[in-house]
Subunit: 129 residues, 4 copies
DNA sequence: GTGGTCTAGACCACA
DNA sequence: GTGGTCTAGACCACT
């Protein structure tokens, strides 16, 4: 269920964050679902508990999960999307960078949009699986 | 013409790379155009020459520019897109990550595609300017 | 009447303490009023009895409540304020920290004092309600 | 210049954060001033570099400082106060809690306001010293 | 030199 | 049992 690549140049804690965000968007993880405890997750992924903890803390900052003292960590219900201008601006800039990079790799507008469709198709059917 | 932000968390050398890629895609920089020398560029951008050098090396590795000994560095002609599977895979994975991140920021498929259109519109009209 | 948030980062036992202190200050709880037993309170608030017990112990230590064996727990009369230098020092330091935090959030002296007035207004009219 | 108490129940990294916020509010640290490097600060305060790093990262999240890659960490200019509703709500709640706590320690409204004046007086004259 | 990431292992508060 | 804090020490990327 979790895809961690220790040799990737993407930090492990970011990979954990992205995994959980993806599972949440795919509705495989639903509001109030309990996440594995820090220690469980750490032994599952064979990483240090501190690394998992860092990921959880960042997810909590982003209001995607929340902690109940002594009980564990849970997916938050996504009441209202926080309009975090900074994060949006950053994400859009990365999107722009990726378009340019893909442009240099032979992708034109249509191919990129087709790719987006493919990604969304995968995300949406995620819950059914 | 160049947009460098030393405060950003994107490495400066990557920012240089992305700037040149963007100018090239916008046809503001055209094949056989001469780039400033490492030292000129470094003093222009007020960064360390090593940083510019690293950017040029990476751009050369990606066949976007090439060096002629004693004459300088030039934009390559882009006739044949290199089918660099690794870079493509990496870019598509980042694209996927960004879609998930934007999904958590309230963007649905339509909004993302609209954004792509906007980006491409900007890139394409770049050459006219 | 009680405001408990298991998600908050303030420990539940502290929230219980603060709730009782507030009700006492607002004269909603008056000297010799009987508090619910530990178990009653625990089932009311849907928390662990140990947690309530810890809160009661701390309140007793602060002489805000007292226990009569076999009869229950009661609000103490507040004739003589305990001159607990440590607690005062700690509270004033927290007050200072909060002023600095609020200073960084755009609050100046006037705005903070206005806020204090508002808080006191709420506390004082609490008894009438 | 820095006041760290390892035995306090306030986490060290929070103490570092609060120290820097205070120095910044007192204009002893001014925009673009360089902070000691993580390692310098760590050896100054005789704490682990990770602890300092955690404090710096949180300060950066709060836009009070910013990092320039390879050069160090600097006080940010406080362009526009971020209207962080959550942090404001949390701070005001703590302020309320403190008023109640002080109420139980014999402080009435006037005494608390006098205390606020004292604190602000100290903060404002901080820059002159 | 700078900060960022990660590990291993310890201790503590809370429920 | 849970997460949070801290240390010591390692390695890496960037400038």
């Amino acid at each position: 269920m979790f895809n961690i690549n220790t040799t990737s140049d993407k930090p492990i804690y970011e990979q954990i964050i992205d995994n959980i965000k993806e599972l949440s968007l795919k509705k495989i993880l639903r509001p109030e679902d309990k996440l594995p405890s820090v220690r469980q997750m750490a032994s599952m992924l064979v990483v240090n508990p501190n690394t998992v903890s860092k990921a959880y803390q960042e997810l909590e900052r982003q209001k995607i999960i929340h902690t109940v003292r002594g009980r564990g960590t849970f997916i938050s219900s996504e009441t209202d999307f926080p309009v975090d201008k900074d994060r949006i601006a950053k994400a859009l800039e990365t999107l722009r960078d990726i378009c340019i990079e893909l442009g240099h790799l032979g992708f034109d507008r249509e191919k990129i949009i087709k790719e987006i469709e493919r990604i969304y198709c995968d995300i949406e059917k995620g819950g059914i699986k």
